[in-house]
Amino acid sequence: MEFFAWCMIAAGLGMGIGSFGTGIGQGMAIKSAVEGVARNPGVSGKILTTMMIGLAMIESLAIYVFVVAMIILFANPFTEQVMSLVTK
């Protein structure tokens, strides 16, 4: 049963680490975008579009971690093996 406890810990810690880096990356992207708009408000539309694409690209890192966490929690491929070992 310790296996499942470690699964929970892995999913939680992984999500934390994944969102940590993503947060820093998105913050830097938004910082640059806001600086650009403050210097030249005329191109705010174009900057917004580019920023959105960039943010989506950065965000997908956190989304991958989320998908992996969900696989660990709800669709763990090793569950049956571990259960058969435990009941043996």
């Binding site: 579009t49 694409i53 690209m57 997908s60 709800f74």
Partner: protein
């Protein structure tokens, strides 16, 4: 960890047909879009009013976005991109109504959409450039072509993966967060999450459509 009650799924269980909830709700979204399109274009007037006015604003907005991102050549792909945008937007937004399940919160729907984009980019590329389309994969220096080719292939294969997983992760994550908040404190606490869901629905539609546009535009342009 899904909705406690889905009315189309209940209906499907009464009929004893084994269709997944994402399929039934995809049919529902298709039905909604077809009915709205029919009602909006049934009596087209010079001075639009009501539903026709609203749909004209939506379609013109998407058309401007396509022309801005892809240039005049992109006009030919407007029907495909507008269909993506409307379908994903409506699918994302029905998640906010109780008893509805967004088809985009299932990986199968998103893989279908992303593979359509993936196949479309290569069809467009071959149609536009013929055999010279393979220069897109070669890079600028001929001596380095075998190396660049492998990297480019991996890059192209990562496109449908990232497109589908991004949409899936966002929508499914929102569903799960909503369900957890609903289980913890059902009173008023999920409301900010639902508001964030509206934002996520629009942004993800925008991102998916924009990336599809950029991929098709990348296949259209000349190899450097």
């Amino acid at each position: 960890m899904t909705h406690p009650f889905l009315f189309l799924q209940w209906l499907e269980q009464q009929l004893h047909t084994h269709v997944g909830e994402h399929v039934t709700y995809t049919w529902f979204v298709m039905l909604v879009l077809i009915i709205v399109a029919f009602l909006a274009s049934r009596a087209v007037k010079m001075i639009p009013g009501g539903l026709q006015n609203f749909m004209e604003v939506v379609v013109t907005g998407i058309e401007n976005l396509v022309e801005e991102t892809m240039g005049p050549k992109g006009k030919a792909y407007f029907p495909l991109l507008a269909t993506f945008a409307l379908f994903i937007l409506v699918s994302n937004l029905i998640a906010l109504i109780p008893g509805f399940y967004p088809p985009t919160a299932n990986l199968n729907t998103n893989v279908a959409l992303a593979l359509t984009v993936f196949v479309m980019t290569h069809i467009v590329g071959v149609k536009e450039h013929g055999f010279h389309y393979f220069k897109h994969f070669m890079g600028p220096i001929l001596a380095l072509a075998p190396l660049i080719f492998i990297i480019e292939i991996i890059g192209h294969l990562a496109r449908p993966l990232s497109l589908s997983l991004r949409l899936f992760g966002n929508m499914y994550g929102h569903e799960i967060v909503l369900m957890i908040f609903l289980a913890l404190v059902p009173f008023l606490l999920p409301v900010p999450m639902i508001l964030m869901g509206v934002l996520v629905a629009f942004i993800q539609t925008f991102v998916f459509t924009l990336l599809a546009m950029i991929y098709i535009a990348g296949a259209l342009e000349e190899a450097h």
